[in-house]
C-alpha cells in the first residue's frame, strides 16, 4: 500500500496561497466558513461556489487531488443527504410504506451536502497550501494571548507538530503489521462483516503497543533537547504579514459581506 499523497497533505505549487501568512489563511477560512453557514438562497450558494472554484483554480493544485479527497467523504455525504431527504417533514412528493420523501427534504439535503462540499474544499485549501509546521506556528501566534491565562499554547503547538510528524510513520507501521499478519495467514478482507470488528485486534494491539512505546521514547528525546515547558523559546522562522496578506484579507471581507447582503436581500 503506497500512501504517497495523504489526503489533505501539503502540495507545493508556489501559488499565491502558498505564500500567504498562515494566520491570514486561518482567519479568512474561519470567516468564510461562518459566512457560508448563514447562507440560504440559491444565488448566494452559486456565488459562493464560483468563489471557491476561483480559489481552487488560483491554487494551481491539480483537480484530481480535490476529487480524491471528496471521494473518501462520499459515504458520509450520501448518508447526510439521505438522512435529510427522508426525515424532513413537509410536502410529501413520493412515499413507499413508511418512507416519505418531501420537497423540503430534497431541498435541505441538497443544500446541506452542497455546503459540506464547499467547506471540505475550503479546509483542504488550508492544509494543501500550508506546511504543517507553518500551520502550527500560525495557530500558536494566534492563540498566544491565551498563554497569559495559563493556557499551554506552546505545548499544544508541539503536540500538533508531533501528530503531523508521526502520521506517515504510524501508517508505515500499520502496513508492516498488516503484512506480517497476512504472512501468518490472517486476511482481514476475507472475513465476513460481523467478525471483522474483532478481526482488527491482531492489527490494533501491536500498533497501539508500538505507539505507546514510541511516545515514551519521544518524551525522553524532547526533554533531552532542553524543551523544558516550552516557554521563552526563540523562533527561527518569523511570521510577518505582507502586502498580499492585507490585500487578501480585504478581498475576503468584501466577498463575505457581499454574500451575506445577497442572502439578506433574499435574492
Amino acid at each position: 500500500m503506497s500512501r504517497n499523497v495523504l489526503m489533505g497533505q501539503y502540495w507545493e505549487t508556489n501559488s499565491l496561497f502558498h505564500r500567504l501568512d498562515p494566520r491570514t489563511k486561518i482567519i479568512s477560512i474561519i470567516f468564510i466558513m461562518l459566512c457560508f453557514l448563514m447562507l440560504d438562497t440559491i444565488i448566494s450558494y452559486i456565488v459562493a461556489t464560483v468563489f471557491i472554484l476561483a480559489i481552487l483554480l488560483l491554487s494551481k493544485i491539480p483537480f484530481h487531488i480535490f476529487r480524491s479527497g471528496l471521494k473518501s467523504m462520499l459515504f458520509i455525504l450520501m448518508f447526510t443527504f439521505l438522512y435529510h431527504v427522508v426525515f424532513t417533514k413537509g410536502n410529501v412528493i413520493w412515499s413507499w410504506s413508511f418512507i416519505e420523501i418531501t420537497m423540503e427534504g430534497l431541498h435541505n439535503g441538497i443544500r446541506i451536502v452542497w455546503r459540506i462540499i464547499l467547506l471540505i474544499l475550503l479546509a483542504s485549501m488550508l492544509t494543501l497550501t500550508t506546511k504543517p509546521l507553518t500551520l502550527a506556528h500560525g495557530l500558536e501566534k494566534l492563540l498566544s494571548p491565551l498563554s497569559k491565562l495559563n493556557v499551554p499554547v506552546e505545548q499544544f503547538s508541539l503536540m500538533i507538530v508531533i501528530a503531523i510528524r508521526f502520521i506517515p510513520t504510524i501508517l508505515q507501521e500499520l502496513d508492516r503489521i498488516l503484512l506480517a499478519q497476512r504472512a501468518r495467514g490472517y486476511d482481514i478482507t476475507s472475513l465476513p462483516l460481523p467478525k471483522r470488528i474483532f478481526a482488527y485486534i491482531p492489527i490494533l494491539i501491536p500498533l497501539l503497543f508500538t505507539i505507546i512505546q514510541r511516545a515514551e521514547q519521544l518524551t525522553y528525546a524532547i526533554d533531552a533537547r532542553a524543551y523544558g515547558n516550552g516557554k521563552g523559546r526563540t523562533t527561527f522562522k518569523q511570521l510577518k504579514f505582507k502586502q498580499m496578506d492585507y490585500q487578501l484579507g480585504g478581498i475576503v471581507i468584501i466577498i463575505t459581506l457581499s454574500l451575506i447582503l445577497l442572502n439578506i436581500g433574499g435574492v
Binding site: 508492516r176 503484512l179 506480517a180 499478519q181 495467514g185 491482531p202 501491536p206 508500538t210
Partner: protein, 282 residues
C-alpha cells in the same frame, strides 16, 4: 521442494525493485541473501512468500506455476515460514501459548495437535514451558524474538525465510539464536533463506550466498567461492568481507604467500593463519 524464479521483475510506482531475476533454490541448504540496503533483498524474499501480488515473470514450485487469483495476483504461500525484521512487533495475544497457536488455529488444527507441536517447538528455540502463561509483552527482547520465530516454526515449514533475525540483539543472544537456527535447519534437511548484513554470520553458517545490487541478482554460489575468490567486486558494491577473510587477505599480503583454506569459516582460517603469524614472530 525446488523454488524457481524465471525472469521476475517487480515494479513499484517510483522505482524498479527487482530486474529480471532468475534463480533456483534447492532444499536442504542455508542460503544467505546479501546486498546493500535497498538492493532488492527483502523484495526478493517477499516474492518467494507470495507477499507481492503483482510480479512480471514466472514463479514455480516443484515445476508447477504458483497459483494466482482471478486478477492474476499472487497469493500468500502458507507452507513457507516468514520472519519479518523485529518480528516481536507483530505479537498481540494475551499469552505465549495463544501467540504460538495463532496460525495453527486458523488452519483448523485441534488443541491437542497444537499443544503437542508447542511442546516440540519450545526446546528447539531454547524456551521453557514456564513462559506459556505469560504475556508476550512481559518477555525480554531476546525471548520475544525467539517466541516470534517459534510461532513461524509451529507450522513446520520446509522453507524458512528470515529477514535479519538478529537485528538489534546483543552479541550473546545473536550467537545462540544463530546456532539454534542452524540446528533446526540441519534437522530434516530444511531450507533457510536468511537476509543479512552480518558478513561474519554469513561466512559462518551459510552453504550458499545470493548477492543483490540495485535490483539485480549478481551472483548465486557457494559461500566459500564467493568470499575467497570473488572478494574484490563485493567491495566495489559497498559490502565488506567477513573479518576472518579480511584477516586471511591481510596475512597473504604481508607474507607474500597464497594460503589454501578448507572454507571461509573462522576456525578453518585461523588454523591456517596462525602458523604464519607464529613463524613471523608476530
Amino acid at each position: 521442494m525446488v523454488y524457481q524464479l524465471n525472469n521476475v521483475s517487480v515494479n513499484y510506482t517510483d522505482r524498479v525493485a527487482l530486474h529480471n531475476v532468475s534463480c533456483t533454490i534447492e532444499e536442504g541448504k542455508w542460503i544467505s541473501i546479501i546486498g546493500r540496503t535497498g538492493a532488492g533483498k527483502s523484495t526478493f524474499v517477499k516474492v518467494l512468500k507470495g507477499l507481492i501480488p503483482s510480479i512480471d515473470g514466472d514463479y514455480s514450485i516443484d515445476q508447477q506455476l504458483v497459483q494466482r487469483d482471478s486478477k492474476s495476483q499472487l497469493k500468500v504461500i502458507p507452507d513457507i515460514g516468514y520472519v519479518f525484521q523485529y518480528p516481536e512487533h507483530q505479537c498481540f495475544e494475551t499469552s505465549v501459548y495463544k501467540e504460538l497457536a495463532f496460525a495453527s488455529k486458523m488452519m483448523g488444527h485441534s488443541s491437542q495437535q497444537i499443544t503437542h507441536a508447542i511442546e516440540l517447538i519450545l526446546p528447539q528455540v531454547g524456551l521453557s514451558e514456564e513462559i506459556l502463561p505469560l504475556a508476550p509483552f512481559q518477555l525480554s527482547g531476546g525471548y520475544k524474538r525467539r517466541l516470534a520465530i517459534a510461532s513461524e516454526l509451529m507450522m513446520n515449514p520446509r522453507l524458512l525465510i528470515l529477514d535479519e533475525p538478529t537485528a538489534g540483539l546483543d552479541p550473546v543472544s545473536r550467537l545462540s539464536l544463530m546456532r539454534l537456527l542452524k540446528e533446526w535447519q540441519q534437522q530434516d534437511n530444511r531450507t533457510i533463506l536468511n537476509v543479512s548484513h552480518q558478513m561474519n554470520d554469513v561466512a559462518e553458517y551459510s552453504d550458499e550466498v545470493i548477492a543483490f545490487h540495485e535490483g539485480h541478482l549478481m551472483e548465486h554460489c557457494d559461500t566459500s567461492t564467493l568470499f575467497l575468490e570473488q572478494g574484490q567486486w563485493l567491495a566495489k558494491l559497498g559490502m565488506s568481507l567477513p573479518e576472518p577473510v579480511q584477516l586471511l587477505k591481510l596475512v597473504e599480503e604481508l607474507s607474500g604467500q597464497n594460503i589454501e583454506v578448507a572454507s571461509c569459516r573462522e576456525r578453518d582460517i585461523f588454523e591456517k593463519v596462525w602458523p604464519i603469524l607464529h613463524t613471523r614472530g608476530c
